[in-house]
């Protein structure tokens, strides 16, 4: 218990000291996660929109698979990405293993199903509202998807934020493919795991609090964006 207060104190001390190592791993966390979430959004949002709009045999199974893929254990993702990027694997020549790129790839795989699923749900409601109109106006599939994504952008922010949350807190996969290398691939979560395994609970908690504060900041900022949107909307 005392450790929890020590953790809070450690967090304050860390932030107050502007520890360069802390700043470095925090920025790396942000960089890896934002890159991964951006790509996941570029894939997941159109995919969700497509699945909301399209009706074809097997769609139900694809939707269920997508939801199931939200349960992809990070360790398994890490392992798969490792096997592909390893020198012994097909993409070994790219020399991406144990670099931030490998971490981005792993996080994309983890986050895309989540972003796609939530987008699908958000867009399905709007599609129900717009369906007759868009069909009546003869909008092509592409035009339908674009319209739904644009008019549903408020809800899609939530999908992106969920993806951000999932990615920024993820450790299992980035640990395996990044290697938690000091000055190269160490991020907040792998640092937390390391300190925990060293039994330095206060420091681990402190880093966790920093991570949470970061997530909260990102959410408050996007919430501000969302609010502006909402005000402009009916």
């Amino acid at each position: 218990m005392g450790e929890i207060w020590e953790g809070v104190a450690a967090a304050i001390a860390l932030v107050a000291s502007l520890d360069p190592a802390l700043i470095e791993i925090t920025l790396r966390s942000l960089q890896v996660t934002l890159s991964a979430v951006a790509v996941a959004g570029l894939i997941g949002i159109p995919l969700g929109a497509f699945l909301a709009v399209a009706r074809f045999p097997g769609r139900g199974v694809i939707v269920a698979t997508l939801t199931a893929l939200m349960g992809l254990p990070p360790v398994v993702v890490g392992l798969l990405v490792y096997l592909f990027l390893s020198q012994a694997g097909p993409f070994g020549v790219l020399n991406l293993l144990f670099t931030p790129w490998a971490m981005v790839i792993a996080q994309i795989i983890i986050v895309t199903p989540l972003v796609a699923s939530i987008s699908l749900q958000a867009i399905a409601g709007l599609w129900e509202e717009y369906r007759d109109l868009l069909r009546s106006l003869g909008a092509t599939s592409g035009q339908r998807m674009r319209t739904l994504i644009w008019d549903g952008r408020g809800a899609l922010v939530t999908a992106m934020l969920a993806g951000f949350g999932r990615a920024i807190g993820e450790v299992g996969a980035v640990m395996i493919v990044g290697g938690n290398i000091d000055n190269a691939t160490r991020v907040l979560t792998t640092a937390i795991a390391l300190e925990t395994s060293k039994g330095n609970f206060a420091l681990a908690l402190g880093l966790g609090i920093v991570l949470l504060a970061l997530a909260l900041l990102v959410n408050l900022l996007s919430h501000g964006v969302g609010r502006t949107e909402a005000r402009a909307l009916p």
């Binding site: 012994a88 020399n95 293993l97 144990f98 290398i181 000091d182 395994s197 060293k198």
Partner: protein
């Protein structure tokens, strides 16, 4: 990519030795060094796949298999320490009075006092199993918990459960969470723990050419060996250098 990658086991990293030595090596050798911290099994797999250029581990039988299979060019002993038996300070099974490590294990089994095993096929786990065998005991029952985790996590479990546990000395000294655990049995000869360096062959990564050899030379040099011996926590040495000059 001009980087030398070394897979090291948790004890080397968690003790702080890696963070102490590697910057010095980078300075001396003029190439980047990256340490990847994993269990012995995973370290050897990374080596076999050519994803790291060398490994620094402690599990002799597995290391010899690795070299025999042609994944490593040779095995070079670097340093050693020993395993220690830890347990609650009250020592309910009274192992501190035991004459030898196997007798201590027998006392734990007789008292059915909780014992946490690494359960992960690591060098430490294999050594623990060997001790049970020496004691003539096949441990089982509710008191014997197979944790299936790394050394740090296993120490955290033992600390929280007030259980006995076998640990390498470096991990024990480096742990920030000893709770009520105390060092009860030590026997540096019987519980000898050797760390070795193995360069990976053939080098698949374009990597720093010849870096493994240069690093091995640096690591086994008398200056570095002295540094290892001088590395302490709370005044206690964690590793003793024992590289033989070639």
């Amino acid at each position: 990519d001009g980087v030398f990658r070394l897979a090291v086991t948790t004890s080397v990293q968690n003790s702080g030795l890696a963070d102490h030595l590697l910057p010095l090596a980078e300075e001396a050798l003029d190439f980047d060094i990256q340490a990847i911290v994993v269990g012995t099994g995973q370290a050897l797999r990374l080596g076999a796949a050519g994803d790291v250029d060398a490994v620094l581990v402690h599990s002799e039988a597995a290391e010899r298999d690795f070299v025999a299979a042609g994944f490593g060019s040779h095995r070079r002993e670097i340093m050693y320490n020993d395993f220690v038996l830890l347990g609650p300070a009250e020592d309910p099974a009274g192992i501190a009075k035991a004459g030898s490590p196997p007798e201590a294990m027998a006392a734990i089994a007789a008292a059915e006092a909780p014992f946490v095993s690494r359960g992960d096929d690591s060098g430490t786990h294999r050594r623990e199993l060997a001790l049970w065998a020496e004691a003539g005991i096949a441990p089982e029952g509710r008191w014997y918990r197979e944790g299936g985790s790394g050394m740090g996590a296993t120490l955290n479990i033992a600390a929280a459960m007030g259980a006995y546990v076998l640990s390498d000395r470096a991990s024990w000294l480096a742990s920030g969470n000893r709770a009520s655990l105390a060092l009860l049995v030590e026997d540096p000869d019987a519980l000898f723990n050797q760390y070795s360096f193995i360069p990976v062959t053939p080098p698949r990564r374009a990597g720093a050419k010849g870096a493994a050899g240069l690093f091995e030379t640096w690591l086994t040099g008398s200056d570095t060996q002295a540094l290892i011996g001088e590395f302490r926590i709370d005044g206690m040495p964690l590793f003793l250098p024992n590289a033989r000059p070639q």
